[in-house]
């Protein structure tokens, strides 16, 4: 009888704990991961934006799927790979510098060159 009572109280207690969250079963760390990953997956049905800030049903489905993958102990890379395998690179918003290092470096290089050239020229002219 006592065991039954314990069982039911744990059951209902966990119901209250889990019913707060939209993604029951994820702990705080995992939820942070979910938010982070969702911020970096583009909504396939929207003009622009990630699945975090989208009302589209597909965004919610994808977020749910990512939550399940987190629970299944998949790594971030595995999750990104699943998404890009299904929808194409288009869906990834993160790590632009890894996939296209040139567009990351181009402005930096341009800046360094311009500032150096201008500074050297100014020093020369001052002499």
């Amino acid at each position: 009888m006592k065991n039954l009572a314990t069982f039911f109280s744990i059951f209902f207690l966990s119901f209250f704990i889990f019913s707060d969250q939209l993604y029951p079963g994820l702990d705080e760390q995992q939820l942070k991961r979910l938010n982070y990953l969702s911020d970096n997956i583009r909504c396939p049905k929207c003009s622009y934006g990630n699945i975090s800030s989208s009302n589209a049903p597909i965004s919610k489905d994808l977020k749910e799927e990512i939550a399940q993958m987190i629970l299944a102990n998949k790594t971030n890379d595995e999750i990104y790979d699943t998404m890009s395998e299904r929808y194409g690179d288009y869906i990834l918003l993160n790590d632009v510098e890894k996939r296209n290092p040139l567009i990351f470096l181009a402005p930096l290089i341009a800046l360094i060159i311009s500032i150096s050239v201008v500074t050297i020229y100014t020093i020369k002219k001052s002499k």
Binding site: P44, K45, A56, P57, I58, D61, L62, E65, R86, Y87, G88, Y90, I91
Partner: protein, 169 residues
């Protein structure tokens, strides 16, 4: 030195204008990588609307046309008469994927608007469609021997059919 900068800038400007003129005339490619070249998702126990199990080996043989639809989907309603025509007039076998729909609503919809499908797979939570790469309704897939050869995102009408699907038939 100055001449080089001038020439470079002129070339850049011309390239920019040419590029944008080009981009205006280039056909848009679909946002999401279409699923062409892939197979159907595995590991699902699919049920028809009438409760029977779906024989997945059938789906992987020959020419199969899959249409994703739902009773709440307005564009599906617009597309529906054409699907009726496909199945009646052209005798083409269409299998439906009923996407995120309640059984009662789906059956009522088919009763009211006609049932062009041999049967419809009841994908209640949309998880099968999700793995298939579906992002909404309506969408249509053409498979040959289990491989997706055409994926249309959006409605199918006479024009779309002529441009994208009729060659296969």
């Amino acid at each position: 030195m100055k001449k080089i900068i001038v020439l470079l800038t002129a070339v850049l400007l011309i390239a920019l204008v040419w590029f944008f003129a080009l981009s205006l005339n280039v056909p848009k490619i679909s946002n999401v990588k279409t699923q062409e070249g892939k197979g159907l998702p595995s590991g699902f126990e699919l049920l028809k609307l009438n409760g029977e199990k779906v024989d997945e080996t059938e789906l992987n043989k020959g020419m199969v046309l899959l249409n994703v639809w739902a009773s709440w989907c307005i564009t599906c309603l617009v597309e529906h008469p054409f699907l009726n025509e496909l199945s009646d007039t052209y005798n083409i076998d269409v299998i439906g994927i009923n996407y995120k729909d309640k059984l009662g609503d789906a059956i009522k919809y088919l009763d009211k608007n006609g049932d062009p499908y041999i049967y419809s797979i009841h994908d209640y939570d949309g998880k099968y469609a999700l793995k298939l790469g579906v992002t909404g309704a309506p969408e249509t897939f053409l498979l040959i021997d289990g491989k997706i050869v055409k994926h249309r995102v959006g409605e199918v009408n006479q024009q779309v059919w002529d441009e994208e699907f009729s060659d296969f038939f």
